[in-house]
């Protein structure tokens, strides 16, 4: 579904990604792991269109989208939930969701209902400014807002960051549920332990390079991953 081929990204003269290649298959959860500064977020931004790579190509459903504007990628079904939730804090929960549905002419009501059945709490908070929600609720809103764009591929950047352990479990549960509805998921996480539990396959980034790639259960068992990312 998504094929990233040998992309190289630079911030001015500093190289952030070297020859990064991987493929996300339709219907799976693919986890992109790595330490701070390994290039995970940069990879996501390149896929969503916030960054244009200096070299390499990105294909989505066999179409070259490397230079496509962000809005066109959203229309084709790529939606990014950025790190830090980024809800519009002064706007109400409802307005946040409607902005997610901005590009869709039809079916907004139906999508709202679908989102509310997944996150009933958002329906109760509908007319509240998003800034007054708790961290966990904001994360739900951020994911719900992305779902309003009707994504085929959902890019999730550190969805568990800054949440209490119990909430982290909830969020991962929701991700699994969304995936079961047929949305392919590319998940970026520092919490490798949780990510590898729900992912089908995964890749490990180190200093801008993919150093490992394979089935999630294989990576889970690898000694090097255990010691470096799973805490022994």
């Amino acid at each position: 579904m998504l094929r990233v081929e040998e992309i190289e990204v630079f911030y001015d003269s500093i190289q952030a990604l070297r020859n990064v290649s991987f493929e996300v298959k339709e219907g799976e959860i693919f986890a992109l792991l790595g330490a701070n500064g390994a290039g995970k977020t940069t990879t996501l931004k390149t896929i969503s269109g916030l960054i244009i790579p200096r070299r390499g190509r990105i294909y989505f459903q066999e179409e070259d989208i490397t230079f496509l504007p962000i809005q066109e990628r959203v229309k084709r079904g790529i939606s990014q939930v950025p790190e830090g939730r980024r809800v519009f804090s002064k706007l109400t929960v409802e307005e946040n969701l409607l902005l997610g549905g901005y590009i869709r002419e039809r079916g907004i009501k139906k999508n709202l209902e679908a989102v509310f059945s997944l996150f009933p709490i958002l329906k109760e908070r509908l007319h509240q400014p998003a800034g007054t929600l708790s961290g966990g609720e904001q994360q739900m809103l951020s994911i719900a807002r992305a779902l309003m764009t009707e994504p085929r591929l959902l890019l999730l950047d550190e969805p568990s960051l800054g949440l209490a352990p119990l909430l982290v479990r909830d969020i991962f549960h929701y991700i699994k549920e969304i995936n079961e509805e047929g949305v392919t998921i590319l998940l970026v996480e520092q919490n490798a332990h949780m990510a590898l539990q729900i992912a089908n396959r995964a890749a490990l980034l180190q200093r801008g390079e993919v150093v490992l790639q394979g089935k999630a259960e294989d990576l889970r068992d690898m000694e090097s991953i255990k010691s470096a990312y799973l805490g022994g």
């Binding site: 916030l50 939606s79 950025p82 997610g100």
Partner: protein, 299 residues
């Protein structure tokens, strides 16, 4: 006491006009962090469009003529605002150019419009036809004119319409989203360039109407007339909190009142001084403005 009330009423008209212009500054700042210094000249163009149309109309004082004068001023200044954004700022904005580059372009457009005006209409002030014949009303010993009343009421009406657009339409929602987090709105597929265009259109429409109001109130116009009211409206926007629409309204009225009171009780020669004094004080004591919130610069 009567003098004071009288001055308050006089100040309201100017306050409303400053507020209308200030809204354009603050909205554009909201969506692209740019002080559009050409905005005062859009206001001037509105006045001149009004003049040209008023001169063309046979029955200048009929309600239809008055309506046409305002409508055409609004139409052409909206068009000008869209052109300024499209030709002046957009390519720089796309390249994520430094804010200073955009500011330099703003000053250049301002000079271009002023000098084009001088070329077309000359530097001598032109008197604006009296399309609304003046009437005065007395309440006790306080006088106010029909023009003041019209200006104040139209300002309030326009602000009401603006509020509806910004708070209750899809485009208004997109404007607020872009103002709060431009990158995030792009990730949702919000067409940011169309939002910028719409914001310029809206602000310029208000400035064009304000131009005709001043032309009627003054009642003469010249190609440099946008300079001082433009700067003062900018100060009003800063006073209210740049980026905040209610702030621009409050800032406009506060500045209009303050100016009128200073000219009444001190001396009218301090009138222009006051605005800049206000700017310095606001920047020193409360840089976020009356209604603005403290902003942490993102790294």
């Amino acid at each position: 006491m009567n003098l004071f009330l009288q001055q308050l009423i006089n100040g309201l008209a100017w306050g409303g006009i400053y507020a209308l212009i200030a809204i354009g500054y603050t909205m554009v700042y909201g969506v692209m962090q740019l002080i559009n210094f050409a905005h005062g000249d859009v206001f001037m163009v509105g006045a001149f469009v009004g003049l040209v149309i008023a001169q063309l109309l046979p029955d200048k004082t009929s309600p239809l003529s008055v309506f046409l004068v305002f409508l055409s001023a609004m139409f052409f200044s909206t068009l000008l605002g869209i052109l300024i954004e499209r030709l002046g700022y957009r390519s720089l904005w796309r390249k994520n150019a430094p804010r200073l580059s955009l500011l330099i372009v703003a000053v250049a457009i301002s000079l271009l419009l002023e000098n084009s005006g001088l070329l077309l209409f000359g530097a001598a002030p032109r008197s604006f036809p009296e399309i609304i014949p003046s009437k005065s009303y007395f309440v006790g010993s306080i006088i106010f004119t029909n023009l003041q009343l019209i200006i104040i009421l139209s300002c309030l009406l326009l602000m009401g319409i603006l509020h509806l657009i910004v708070m209750h339409t899809k485009m208004g929602r997109a404007m607020r989203a872009v103002a709060e987090d431009s990158e995030m709105s792009a990730l949702l597929g919000v067409p940011r360039e169309r939002v910028l265009s719409f914001t310029f259109a809206l602000g310029s429409a208000l400035a064009g109407i304000a131009g005709v109001m001043v032309a009627l109130y003054a009642p003469q116009i010249n190609p440099l007339m946008g300079l001082l009211p433009g700067l003062k409206a900018f100060i009003a926007a800063v006073l209210g909190g740049i980026g905040s629409i209610p702030g621009a309204m409050v800032g406009g009225f506060v500045l209009g009142e303050a100016e009128t009171l200073v000219s009444a009780y001190l001396s009218s020669s301090y009138r222009d001084l006051l605005a800049f004094l206000v700017l310095i004080l606001v920047l020193l004591l409360r840089p976020q403005g009356l209604l603005g919130k403290g902003v942490v610069e993102k790294l």
